[in-house]
């Protein structure tokens, strides 16, 4: 365990692991979050630190409310989420800025420039401005740990929640950190009634609103002398203002230049910015995504250049920064060569595959959601037609239905995972029942939160700490909401799945189909000894490619020349045959019923697949 390290010891940690270590050193005692790349590993690591209460909340709004409550009770509290998660948690955030805190409260927002694993590229520095809360922004793992401790001191000193922004290249970059000593909150634990501070009815909120403005002025003054807003003087022909990982790209590209590094992304140290600007010949602002610093600097009347040179989309890197500023041509590089793409894919044995294949045959509009199963939008399954945000599938399907009226019966389905349904699908389903819809909702229950690396969720019952429990009964929950038709099926049983699907989408009432089978990557699934590994009887294969349409990574196409086809005993016109890679096959059996020629059969019990 990381927390068994000695003070002063150097260890290699990712930004997320460093934040967990920082939370431990800061004396955090309650932490809540919802999994989301690139934030997930913070709580996964923090839960190994013994005495700290950590949990996966059903969604980010609840996570922030839990952390805020813990703060009201005098504890140092942490909420973690990815950038889009803060949209969900925005409601409590904006009013928590009014109430302020008792114990320190820090909210980590992990942004994902380049959208490595996200549906949008929003820049959450804008939330600091909009909600009027300070934001710290570390550049690497070592800073992530130190800044988190500073964030708690700021939170308590200024009576405010603090936003803590990382990006993928901070959260998932490993660097060397030094284990530090622990500290604790200045607040005392206990129940304290402070309605003027905690009850935000209009009369109280108006007074807190004034306090909020005063606090921001004090924070602006603090920013002027905050040691992590620092100037590194060098050559003064070029000066850079930057923050976060962009600082590292600037240092790499222009090691001799003068740099104003903003450890606090908001509010800004105006005097420091003006003084810095007056000393350098040309001022550049280097930041990923929005012109957040640049807009402010320009509003101060300080001349600078930023987004006119540097892209406002995607990640930066040192070469891009150098070329944008110097306008020198890029160095000669090897040209990329055209080679087959390697897109991500649903795993062999994935229980979602068969159900999407079945859906694709119905030619319906599939309102999708966020999870591994969003990959079903890709070829060859091509069976997802919209995907917006967590929980959106049900609402969007219902909205289409209301717009199109009765004609849409049997033409639209909503598809959502178990964890996503718990996150924010339930309210959409309530809308369908309450407002007399006939939507068909398919809940893909693979007993885990797959995409982010197998976190438990309320429906699996197991907690982050590993406590096993019964879990929320999705079927009973849907019935309690008022859905009369709830069917649970095994998605590996293809024929039954198709039958049930056809029956339910034609039903002029709300219906829910729960497709229940564990994710193939769960340890109990990987270790099972009775896998029915499949194989292709090549003599029976006619090369019709039916089995390839489910896009299983274990099924391969072996092309044949007319000569080879003949030699193998096929018709000369047969272009090839299917082959099952038995090392990759997980034995789910979804492919066998697709073959009309009985060429796919069980080869026998196989060994557990290797997971490398």
């Amino acid at each position: 365990m990381i927390n068994k390290k000695n003070i002063g010891e150097k260890v290699l940690l990712s930004g997320n692991e460093a934040i967990a270590q920082g939370a431990f050193e800061a004396g955090v005692s309650v932490a809540s979050g919802y999994p989301g790349t690139p934030s997930t590993e913070i709580l996964e690591n923090l839960c190994t630190y013994g005495d700290i209460y950590t949990e996966w909340a059903p969604n980010e709004k609840v996570a922030l409310e839990v952390a805020l409550g813990a703060s009201f009770a005098g504890a140092r509290a942490l909420a973690t989420m990815k950038h889009v998660g803060l949209n969900v948690a925005a409601d409590p955030l904006f009013t928590a800025a009014y109430t302020g805190v008792k114990g320190g409260l820090v909210i980590v927002t992990a942004d994902d420039p380049e959208m490595h694993s996200s549906q949008n590229e929003q820049d959450n520095r804008n939330y600091a401005y909009a909600a009027k809360v300070p934001m710290l922004e570390p550049s690497d793992a070592a800073e992530a740990k130190e800044f988190l401790k500073i964030a708690y001191r700021i939170s308590e000193e200024f009576d405010t929640p603090v936003l803590f922004r990382t990006t993928t290249r901070v959260a998932h970059v490993k660097g060397i950190i030094t284990i530090g000593g622990t500290e604790s909150s200045k607040a005392t634990l206990g129940i304290e009634k402070m309605p003027e501070k905690f009850v935000m009815l209009p009369a109280h909120a108006r007074r807190r609103r004034v306090e909020l403005e005063k606090r921001m002025l004090r924070l602006k003054e603090f920013a002027e002398t905050f040691p992590e807003n620092r100037i590194e003087w060098g050559d003064k022909t070029r000066g850079f203002i930057t923050s976060g990982v962009s600082y590292l790209y600037v240092k790499e590209a222009f090691p001799q230049a003068s740099v104003l590094k903003l450890g606090m992304a908001y509010p800004f140290p105006d005097r420091m910015i003006r003084d810095f600007a007056s000393e350098v010949d040309e001022l550049f602002i280097v930041e990923e995504l929005d012109p957040f610093i640049e807009s402010h600097v320009k509003a101060l009347g300080v001349e600078c250049r930023g987004k006119e040179l540097i892209p406002a989309m995607g990640e930066l890197n040192s070469a891009l920064v150098r070329q944008s500023i110097t306008c020198e041509p890029a160095r000669d590089l090897f040209e990329p060569v055209p080679i087959p793409m390697r897109p991500p894919n649903l795993c062999a044995g994935c229980p979602h595959r068969g159900i999407f294949h079945a859906i694709s045959k119905l030619k319906v509009f599939v309102a999708g959601d966020i999870g591994c199963y969003t990959l079903a939008a890709l070829k060859p399954l091509s069976s997802m037609d919209s995907c917006i945000c967590m929980g959106a599938s049900i609402g969007t399907a219902f909205g289409m239905e209301k717009a199109l009226g009765k004609d849409s019966l049997g033409k639209i389905v909503a598809v959502i995972g178990d964890s996503t349904f718990m996150h924010s699908g339930i309210t959409g389903l309530i809308d369908v029942v309450y407002n007399r819809g006939f939507s068909t909702v398919i809940i893909l229950d693979n007993r885990t939160t797959g995409m982010t690396g197998h976190q438990p969720n309320p429906s699996t019952g197991t907690t982050l700490g590993g406590d096993k429990g019964a879990g929320i009964d999705i079927e009973a929950l849907c019935r309690a909401i008022g859905v009369k038709h709830v069917v649970t099926l095994d998605p590996h049983e293809h024929e039954n799945a198709v039958k049930v699907l056809k029956q339910e989408i034609e039903r002029p009432e709300p219906s829910v189909i729960i497709t229940r089978a564990p994710c193939a990557l769960l340890p109990e699934m990987k270790k099972r000894k009775d896998k029915k590994i499949h194989t292709v009887i090549e003599a029976n294969c006619t090369g019709c490619r039916s089995c390839l349409r489910i896009g299983c990574p274990a099924i391969e196409w072996v092309p044949l020349t007319p000569e080879e086809a003949k030699q193998s005993g096929y018709k000369e016109t047969q272009k090839g045959h299917s082959h099952i890679n038995m090392v990759m096959c997980d034995g789910c059996g979804q492919c066998a019923p697709l073959c009309k020629f009985k060429a796919i059969v069980v080869a026998g019990p196989g060994k557990g697949k290797t997971d490398g």
Binding site: K10, T37, H116, S117, K251, E252, M341, R342
Partner: protein
Amino acid sequence: MDKVMNLFLCGVGGQGILLASEVISSACMNAGFDVKQSEVHGMAQRGGSVISHIRFGRKVYSPLIEAGSADLVVSFEMLEALRYLPYMNKDTKVIVNTQKILPAPVATGMDTYPADVFAQLSQRGLSLFPVDAFDIAQSIGETRAVNMVLVGALSAFLPLDEQTFMQVIEKRLPEKIRKVNIEAFLKGKETVKGMLTKT
């Protein structure tokens, strides 16, 4: 060593690239270097192409290797070496696992696996070090140790002693798979050492 060394690892999700990266980075740290290692999780991983950047030296700023700047590339899968050509330059040393893992468009017959990966790489003047890492791992009875074979192969080029790697592997891996992974590491190193003495 004032210059920062750039190690670029690429392959396919599930090949153990992230563990390999952790072992290499930890060894760099234990040898007294500054080090940064960058990777991506989540949707990017599901059977897709995976890359990892490792940079070490006296002081490392950027976590990302610039295009054309990799000193060493380890391609855990043959085709992936071609995909990341733009990270290489004519002096880059490229360790290539000869193992093929078919990408989905190839597996489904929509595209073909290039027959001439090595020819295409050597045409560009790159120094190639092919390693049959899968066969080596299989010969010691653990196909999951492909990653440690390749870490061993890479280690032949690094200014770190064998003991540093051994200590990291011993600390990082559970006892029951420690021995086989150390064997994999040594076999990988030996394979590349053999090529270096020949040239």
